[in-house]
Subunit: 235 residues, 2 copies
């Protein structure tokens, strides 16, 4: 079973038993992500993807069964990557809560989160298209996306908030709800107004939104008045 160094993978949906080039496959997926992000799923033409990838349309059909399977592959590979980045971000900022202030930690997390959104603009353009088409996309595809990206990130946030509540730094009997409130106040307005990064927002405005959001969040979930907050290790 000798294989070329470049053709070690199993194909995703082409004719069975063929050995296709991994490099071509990667080029296709990357090009497809760009075009799908720009134009959306049913709208992006195979030809445009082929051009973007520097590949013939015929080759695309050698690697993938059809356009939909290509789309699924793009979603899975892209969102797993960005999901990891966000999860790492959350853990990094909330691993140890500085006694100096939970507020500054949350604000810093907010800014870094937005930074990821601009760095991975192409991915979030794709996400925008997914949510846009959600109702017309197979449910399995939506699940695939949720599971590989948003869900783990959210779980990490809930986990950290649970620890913060246990440490008395937060009044969050329901950490999941607190996570939702934090996310809404700190990010939802930004994702909304930038359309997930599509339209720019002045940095000062972003900063104001995050600061105000974190402020409202912390006041809304402040530890019970009688008990001064215990800021210590949250682990």
């Amino acid at each position: 079973m000798t294989r070329r160094p470049d053709t070690l993978h199993a194909q995703d949906g082409g004719a069975p038993g063929r050995r296709l080039s991994a490099a071509k496959r990667e080029a296709i997926v990357r090009g497809a992500r760009t075009v799908f992000g720009r134009e959306g799923f049913p709208r992006a033409g195979i030809d445009a993807i082929a051009v973007e990838a520097g590949v013939s349309t015929r080759t695309i059909y050698n690697h993938f069964r059809d356009k939909e399977q290509l789309f699924a592959t793009v979603i899975e590979e892209s969102s797993a990557h960005v999901g990891d980045a966000l999860t790492a971000l959350i853990d990094r900022h909330l691993e140890e809560v500085p006694a100096s202030g939970l507020e500054s930690a949350l604000i810093a997390l907010g800014h870094d989160w937005v930074a990821v959104m601009t760095e991975c603009a192409e991915h979030f353009a794709l996400v925008r298209q997914i949510t846009a088409e959600a109702a017309h996309l197979p449910a399995a595809l939506i699940d695939l996306w949720q599971e590989s990206g948003p869900r783990p990130a959210r779980a990490a946030l809930v986990h950290r908030f649970r620890l913060l509540a246990a440490a008395g730094a937060l009044d969050a009997p329901d950490p999941a709800r607190a996570a939702t409130h934090f996310h809404l106040l700190a990010f939802a307005e930004i994702t909304d107004r930038t359309r997930l990064g599509a339209t720019p927002l002045p940095p000062a405005e972003i900063s104001a939104i995050i600061t105000a959001g974190v402020h409202t969040f912390l006041h809304g979930h402040a530890p019970t008045p009688t008990r001064p907050p215990v800021l210590g290790t949250t682990r």
Copy 2:
């Protein structure tokens, strides 16, 4: 220039100088709203709209220049109607703040708001499609929608919050931001999870979201006199 009682309106884009039936036009717009809401803009076929409206496709083209103009008409007429309903709701619930509690007023507003969303499910299905396709729709269309629906409603909310802040019932130096925070906390999660009403959410869950959201909001924007607990110097 005798006109039939049924044909008094000016046409939107058909051949100039013809007198078209208002009843047919209404049927077309209503059917188009249903189908556009269900399938989205470019996706909905003229044939499907014609069937839904009980009209021939040719008649549609006698009343409207093309599919896009029909879509614009649907958006304008539908969102103006729902926008008025929401504005009325806001004014009704926040016109006089019961000393008994701003909290209950906001919660009641929240419930009525959600009720409007379910009553006008067809409209919000349309809104879902608009936001989904926003990037590929002419900007003028998006503006048309924003101006006729969401903007007036939001303005009403900001106005009420400004009065509440002036009356000392709320700590909202920036009423616009407070309105955003209230909207996010009380509604955004619901619109998110129900996909603007597309997928159902148990009433108990809705109630919990609104209650928790209003709670967080009020604690975050509580009037200063009693100085709510603050973590460190949150300013």
